[in-house]
Symmetry: C2
Subunit: 216 residues, 2 copies
DNA sequence: GACAATTTCGAACAATTGTTTCAAACTAAC
DNA sequence: GTTAGTTTGAAACAATTGTTCGAAATTGTC
């Protein structure tokens, strides 16, 4: 066995596919591109994963298990951290997941792609990855807003989570247009600054929502 | 001439295409689907618009001229309206443009699609539609933050505009996932409520960014 | 009404892309 | 070393989709 083939084809395919799916989304990624990057023949995807969709699911599963340890949403957070710190940590790791270019930073990108163009794998992805993250984010927002669990509050909490996630995803999916509007653009280097900005913005936003809830 | 053919093919094509492009984006929309909806033959797109891209540009142009009068970003705003009111009006019309299902509410949807999957027409679209809207939004944010035009402020203003737009677009592009997380979902009916929420959130966010700028 | 120009129509073409196929190469067990 | 099973490789297939083409139909002009 040649040393360069020490990694089996399956793994090579998953890693090549992960990068391309993350970059282009499921539909725009072609099997041929993936195989070329992986250095395999065109039929390899179908042989090892039945079809393109099978490969996609394998990529999602593979990235799911590795992402949470690399970018835990509660990075550097302890039980007695303030909710403000928790929110900042959440936003920070979220941005890293969708803007970082290291290996394998796909998972966040794949989720963001899925937001824009849903595939059949979306429901599994929601159950396994998106929902848990969302529940965690909601708990942080709930802490910030206050715990009275009435219907109105829960709606407000939900809407706040969407506002937070929407801001982050915009920097990934809207990259090209943002760069056209502001030539310097934003990349991995700016993650810290963007974290500051989005955290401050969101804390202010949540505070304002809270005020309104109390008023009524 | 049959009365049902009183509208010429070009117009029928543009209207059918607008709806499908807005719904699926450029790449996912097929010429055959468009022709079927328009009630024409498959070659009609190429005959009247040279190619699919020509049709797309025609749609963008057509929708551009009609959208601003239907959904002016300063709807109901006078010169002495407060910046808060202006922001609310901006968000309201932005949401209508991407969530409304009336005819032709495509333009905002097309822009939102373009954010997620850029086409060759993106640069024209930016110059003609996105940039002017963005400049207007930036001027509102600038009013709210304060007018000292230093470099730091301008960056903050820019980032705020992205936060605002990102929140709105999420309700369009992230529709399916949002519905999975919250079964009731959000539609045209909720535009008013969403406007309230995003406006409040953004005003609080901007206020917080402003505080931080003053501190330093 | 005749003729030229335009428009319509559907078949056919070409390019892309996911998938299948089958022989060749390789691996592992005996 | 032989053999059975697995994996690879490239070509071929099938489906989709944008585009082209030539004949037919329609329209406008004299």
């Amino acid at each position: 066995m040649n040393i360069s083939e020490i990694d089996d084809t399956k793994k090579k395919l998953i890693e090549a596919a992960g990068e391309i799916f993350a970059q282009k989304g499921f539909k725009f990624a072609t099997v041929r591109d993936i195989c070329k990057k992986a250095g395999t023949h065109v039929g390899s995807v179908n042989y090892h994963f039945r079809d393109k969709e099978g490969l996609y699911e394998a990529v999602l599963q593979y990235s799911h298990i590795s992402v949470l340890e690399k970018y835990p949403p509660n990075l550097g957070i302890t039980n007695n951290s303030t909710p403000e710190e928790k929110l900042k940590a959440f936003i920070h790791s979220f941005l890293l997941r969708i803007l970082d270019e290291g290996v394998p930073a796909w998972h966040g990108k794949l989720m963001a792609q899925e937001f824009a163009n849903t595939t059949n794998a979306v429901h599994k992805l929601i159950e396994k990855s998106i929902k848990p993250l969302h529940i965690y984010l909601a708990s942080i927002v709930r802490e910030l807003i206050g715990h009275e669990k009435n219907c109105k509050n829960e709606t407000a909490v939900f809407l706040c989570t969407i506002s937070i996630v929407g801001q982050c995803i915009q920097y990934f999916k809207g990259k090209e247009i943002i760069e056209a509007l502001c030539p310097r653009g934003f990349s991995t280097k700016d993650v810290k600054m963007l974290t500051e900005q989005i955290t401050l913005f969101s804390l202010g936003g949540i505070e304002n929502i809270k005020k309104e809830l109390i008023k009524n």
